[in-house]
């Protein structure tokens, strides 16, 4: 197996040519995006350098506390990101449910994946723990964000339908079933779609990385298949927890629709 070509600083520097090309294009065409391109290029560079050194430190000083701390930080960051990404204000109850679903859904999947599928050793091995947690948490974050938007939108735009169903003697669960199902569906659709194109339309990042670093494509594929199953499980678990608990926040204990705009 060929070992990886180490990149020198000059080689990495040469890659910045691409950023420069984009800069020239927007400048010539008068598209005012120069600032964003420069800022995003610098941010990406600094963040990755920082993360690189942090990971080197963590891998060299394996410690269960550090691993746990990193996972916690990732969860918190992801939850904060979901709050920021959703349109409109979220109720306090809704925020709690989002945080709870994220934590429960991703951690259960992560534990299953690391200890039963891959069987890592020691249990806190950061080389496996951190990147895999990142993939599960990241994808679940995207899924739940979509789910939140669809659920809130659906409850608002179909309020009339929900109320009509209540009038016919439906429980809140039955009255909001269609909206809940829709939210779940649109949350897991991107994951399903990416599975469909995988290996033919594009090579997934993790697999590409492993192949570049000299791992046999067969091993890389095994990992990729396993991680895709893990992602699908984590996204589904997180989102189903969220929608099942989330719809209830639109009803009170008397099974009445909470109308905030009246």
């Amino acid at each position: 197996m060929n070992s990886i070509i180490e990149l020198s600083i000059m080689q990495v520097g040469a890659a910045y040519i691409f950023s420069l090309i984009v800069l020239i294009i927007v400048k010539v065409r008068g598209i005012s995006r120069e600032k964003e391109i420069i800022v995003s290029t610098i941010r990406m560079t600094l963040q990755l350098i920082f993360t690189g050194y942090v990971l080197v430190y963590i891998f060299e000083n394996m410690n269960p506390w550090i691993t746990v701390l990193v996972i916690l930080a990732m969860e918190l960051f992801a939850i904060q990101n979901i709050y920021k990404r959703t349109k409109g204000e979220l109720s306090k109850k809704m925020k709690t449910i989002i945080a709870g679903s994220m934590a429960a859904g991703t951690l259960v999947s992560l534990i299953f994946f690391l200890f039963i599928v891959i069987k890592i050793s020691p249990w806190y091995n950061p080389r496996y723990f951190i990147p895999i947690a990142g993939m599960l948490i990241g994808n679940s974050m995207t899924g739940i964000s979509l789910g939140v938007d669809r659920l809130v939108d659906g409850m608002k735009s179909k309020k009339h339908m929900v109320e009509s169903s209540l009038m016919l003697g439906a429980t809140p669960k039955i009255a909001s079933k269609e909206i809940v199902d829709n939210a779940f569906d649109s949350a897991i659709l991107p994951t399903i779609n990416s599975m469909v194109g995988m290996g033919i339309v594009f090579l997934p990042g993790m697999m590409t990385g492993q192949i570049l670093s000299g791992t046999s494509p067969v091993t890389a594929i095994e990992y990729q298949i396993a991680i895709m199953m893990g992602i699908l499980g984590s996204v589904s678990l997180t989102v189903i927890l969220f929608v099942q608990l989330g719809y209830r926040t639109f009803f009170n204990s008397e099974d009445q629709l909470i109308l905030d705009d009246e």
């Binding site: 339908m161 003697g169 009445q256």
Partner: protein, 216 residues
């Protein structure tokens, strides 16, 4: 059947006293914006008052389970929801929602369509029929549920005068025949006077008048 005592709901309703009799047709009249629809929603606990006491069959409304109540006291809103699917599916959806296991065959359903004067086939797309037809379809849907109390919010607002008269006449006839209670919001005083046993007049959230028909 229902009694209200010092019931307040936001700035919309302020009712000192109100009684609805069992097995009677009660019509609620009043200008638009007077709180008629809000009043109707208090009967099936779609909303709860901020203060005051409502009783249903001598039980405190607060202690009655909302979903159970709504299966006995069924409301037809002014613009009822039509669900994706056929006329037949729309008729049956109420039974599904209220988890009733009644066996209903197509002949029963056709009878109901006749009852609400709706000349449509069971397999027609319910979303493609006119507004007035959808209103009658929704009316048929709640008749199928056979509730103790019907709450109708302007059941004929999308109908022409002739159809309106016919549909309400049949509805009232059905209610009397089956010994049920009907509470109906209507914008036409004429309808209230012709079919109501009792009339409630609402103005700016207060009860202006309740009792029998004045000119009877």
């Amino acid at each position: 059947m229902f009694s209200f005592e010092n019931v307040k709901y936001k700035n919309i309703l302020n009712i000192e006293n109100l009684h609805i009799e069992k097995n009677k047709v009660t019509c609620i009249v009043g200008e638009s914006g007077s709180g008629k629809t809000t009043l109707l929603k208090l009967f099936n606990k779609l909303i709860s008052p901020d203060s005051g006491i409502i009783k249903y069959m001598d039980k405190y409304m607060k202690e009655v389970d909302s979903v159970e109540l709504r299966r006995e006291v069924v409301m037809l809103p002014q613009s009822p929801a039509i669900y994706e699917g056929t006329v037949k599916e729309n008729l049956l959806i109420g039974l599904k929602f209220s988890e009733k296991k009644d066996v209903v065959d197509d002949n029963n359903l056709k009878e109901i369509l006749k009852e609400v004067n709706l000349n449509k086939e069971l397999d027609e797309d319910a979303e493609k029929i006119s507004g007035g037809e959808q209103q009658r379809l929704a009316l048929g849907r709640i008749i199928l549920l056979d509730p103790n109390v019907y709450l109708l919010d302007e059941p004929s607002s999308a109908l022409d005068e002739e159809t309106e008269h016919l549909v309400i006449e049949k509805m009232v006839e059905h209610v009397r025949k089956t010994n049920k209670t009907l509470i109906m919001v209507t914008h036409t005083k004429r309808i209230a006077e012709e079919f109501g046993d009792n009339i409630i007049e609402v103005k700016k959230g207060k009860i202006l008048y309740q009792g029998g028909i004045a000119n009877e």
